[in-house]
């Protein structure tokens, strides 16, 4: 395509760059502004200036020393990680069966999963909270891990099932003839093959655990594994006054790690989403 130097190629390039710049500016302008805000002293956040007149680390000091935000960041990390690992244990075996085993009524099962995608999870918060308190999961990390599954499992089943279904049918049969049990065939052959998809889902679930506010807020207390987004929410709308500069520091702290992880997972993510292209 590069050799063709007709008018459309020029238009083509212009359009592509214009699109790229448009989208990038949608993102970069707000983010660079708030990144700079995090270095402003309290008084300056109420004026619209890009650069702080006086660079200040006060907000950072406050966030680290007084709020001890890093503790909650760590909680978020553990909450997300645990949820991600758990989701794999739930979704992968299930999706494997749905994707590769012929079972009567499978279609109906699958509709049930799909409809589960539609369910407004807001309504699940209270019943789950009550149950969690009863069975001792309240204010614990496992409690959060399990609760987050609501967001991801239907979607994970959908993606993974498609993936498993598209693998050649003889793969596990082959493994079984060559000495694997059913489980080994799954574990030694199917699982390694599904790795890119699994990694992608790990990231998506991690992100959900990291980001979630509603469940984290309801299911934890100040002494438990409270996550960063709850603290952030409280800072934004909970107290008496919005401390913008502090909020922006928290924004950076809570926002950058997932972005880095996303970039690390880039390749796997692309593969995963390509699975569902038809």
């Amino acid at each position: 395509m590069a050799q063709v130097t007709d008018r459309s190629s020029f238009v083509h390039k212009t359009l592509a760059y214009a699109g790229l710049i448009f989208v990038l500016s949608l993102i970069l302008i707000p983010y660079s502004y708030i990144a700079l805000t995090a270095f402003k002293p309290p008084g300056e956040v109420f004026e619209v200036e890009w650069l702080p007149r006086e660079w200040s680390l006060e907000a950072w000091r406050y966030t680290f020393k007084t709020v001890e935000f890093q503790k909650y960041i760590f909680n978020s990390f553990i909450a997300g990680l645990g949820a991600a690992i758990l989701s794999i244990f739930i979704a992968v075996p299930g999706a494997y069966i749905f994707g590769r085993k012929q079972l009567r009524g499978k279609e109906i099962f699958f509709y049930i999963i799909t409809v589960a995608l539609l369910f407004p999870y807001v309504l699940l918060i209270v019943p789950i909270t009550i149950t969690w308190i009863r069975i001792g999961l309240y204010d614990t990390l496992p409690g959060l891990w399990i609760a987050y599954q609501i967001f991801i499992i239907p979607f994970a089943l959908w993606i993974l099932r498609g993936f498993f279904a598209e693998l050649p049918p003889s793969l596990e049969e082959c493994a079984m003839v060559y000495g694997c049990t059913q489980f080994q065939a799954f574990y030694r052959v199917m699982l390694p093959l599904a790795r890119p998809v699994i990694v992608s889902l790990l990231f998506m679930t991690f992100l959900i655990g990291w980001s979630d506010f509603l469940f984290s807020n309801m299911l934890t207390t100040g002494e438990g594994p409270r996550t960063a987004s709850v603290i952030l929410y409280v800072t934004a709308v909970g107290g008496e006054r919005v401390e913008w500069e502090v909020l922006m520091v928290m924004t950076l702290m809570a926002g950058i790690p997932p972005v880095l992880l996303y970039i690390l997972a880039q390749k796997q993510l692309m593969k995963t989403f390509a699975v569902r292209r038809r």
Binding site: P42, T129, I133, R134, T221, E223, G238
Partner: protein
């Protein structure tokens, strides 16, 4: 955070906290003597769970809370498991869910008009209050009738379930003196504001002289519309009808004449006079205070909790007397002599069961008493409200912004909001949308009527 509490309280911890508190001019009950003295042993081995909400106000209040908790542990040998929470938790589903599912603290603080929903879980405190030493009880006893009014719809309204330790009279006004000069107004002559007519005159001057485009603000946001200045104005017209609910909680008061007048005036400030910004349907007193600090507003109604913001943002200007507080004022033509509603931060103890129920309740009570110690009451009043103890007020007067003078002068027959089990819904959730509609141009009387109907329906079920 409670891990810190598990450790024995060290001198280093003490220094850390007292230094922090001293920086904002606070002292607490925790003295060095106590640290090296024999710890009290009468509650040794008792553990109570405490859910703290007042700490969300600002970091200073949180540190102060920690200090008081530590002092109590030191003094009695009891152990306190503290959970830090937010107002959203009791307004929202969290406390209800937890209580319902059996996750209940021994003692917690909240706003006293929000605990009606949890009343069946609470233990009445009259016997404890009865044994209180008169030195503490006397200066607090002015609140008891108010508690009774607040609980009037309950069959046991005489019982105290929520003991207020801080009061928040709604709502004083704050102004900045430089605007008065610019507007050519004489502050000495015009302060405090007499009534709403007087108020309109002042606002007109500020606006006409272009001192500020929107010199004032009425609040439409869900949490501020129903508990800042509005009820005070209605109250100045009719004490009986000023609360959201009638005397026996059988119907809403809000479709009555005084309410229509009060809300109409509230809306007029925005729609008719344009003294309040276009953002009024979603504005809050915190926003307004920020704008006052930045010189965009001349007078705002703001609850006393905002004083911390001034101290943090413009400490020098406060010191220099630029910011002045003044009392709330009546509606023109309708002075019943009472223009204030009062929110109260209170302690509640939950009903305990089991063999150690009695000692736990006792420990919780001892814990509450810690908060009522004079030095703690003073410290709290400086950082987060007005102390419940009248006897410490005089000592607080004389600040350059006169905030104590302003607030205490308002406390002549204040009203309180009902502690109906549905009060959060009634006072905020259902009310705000109608106020916002009215601010958007809907007819005030119609909106109030619709609102009253919704409330009446709730009251029936």
């Amino acid at each position: 955070m409670n891990k810190e509490l598990d450790r024995t309280y060290s001198r280093r911890d003490f220094l850390k906290i007292t230094t922090a508190l001293a920086a904002v001019g606070l002292t607490t009950s925790l003295t060095p003597d106590l640290l090296y003295g024999e710890a009290g042993t009468d509650l040794k081995g008792v553990t109570i769970d405490y859910w703290n909400m007042i700490g969300v106000q600002n970091p200073v209040v949180k540190q102060l809370s920690e200090s008081i908790i530590k002092a109590f542990e030191q003094r009695t040998g009891a152990k306190v498991n503290t959970t830090w929470d937010t107002y959203g938790s009791i307004i929202g589903p969290k406390y209800r869910t937890n209580f319902l599912a059996g996750k209940i603290p021994t003692v917690f603080d909240a706003i006293s008009s929000w605990t009606g929903q949890l009343r069946s879980f609470l233990r009445p405190l009259n016997d404890f209050v009865g044994e209180w030493d008169s030195e503490t009880k006397e200066p607090v006893s002015w609140l008891f009738p108010l508690i009774k009014v607040q609980n009037r719809g309950f069959s046991d309204a005489d019982q105290i379930y929520d003991l207020p330790f801080l009061v928040i009279p709604q709502a004083p006004v704050v102004t900045r003196l430089d605007h008065w000069k610019k507007a050519g107004l004489d502050f000495e002559k015009n302060w405090p504001i007499k009534d709403t007519d007087h108020f309109l005159e002042l606002l007109k001057a500020f606006k006409d002289q272009k001192v500020s485009e929107y010199p004032y603000e009425v609040y439409g946001k869900i949490w501020d519309a129903g508990d800042t200045q509005l009820n005070g104005w209605v109250r100045s017209l009719d004490i009986e009808k000023s609360d959201f609910l009638n005397a026996d909680w059988t119907r809403s008061n809000c479709d009555s004449e005084p309410w229509i007048r009060g809300v109409q005036f509230y809306v007029d400030l925005f729609r008719k006079y344009h003294y309040s910004s276009p953002d009024s349907p979603q504005s809050t007193d915190e926003d307004a205070v920020e704008q006052l600090i930045r010189g965009q507003k001349s007078i705002v109604h703001a609850d006393i909790l905002n004083r911390g913001t001034f101290l943090k943002r413009i400490p020098k200007e406060v010191e220099a007397g630029l910011i002045q507080w003044g009392p709330h004022f009546p509606m023109a033509g309708g002075t019943t002599g009472s223009v204030v509603f009062q929110a109260m931060a209170s302690f509640s103890i939950t009903k305990q069961t089991g063999p150690d129920a009695e000692i736990k309740e006792r420990a919780a009570w001892e814990f509450i008493k810690e908060w009522f110690r004079a030095e703690n009451q003073i410290a709290l009043a400086k950082s987060s409200g007005l102390s419940a103890r009248r006897d410490v007020w005089d000592g607080l007067k004389g600040a350059p912004d006169h905030y104590i003078e302003a607030v205490t002068s308002m406390l002549n027959n204040p009203g309180v909001w009902s502690n109906h089990p549905k009060s959060v819904d009634i006072q905020y959730n259902l009310f705000a949308p109608h106020i916002q509609q009215a601010m958007g141009g809907a007819d005030v009387a119609t909106e109030l009527k619709a609102y009253a109907e919704e409330v009446n329906k709730i009251l029936k079920t």
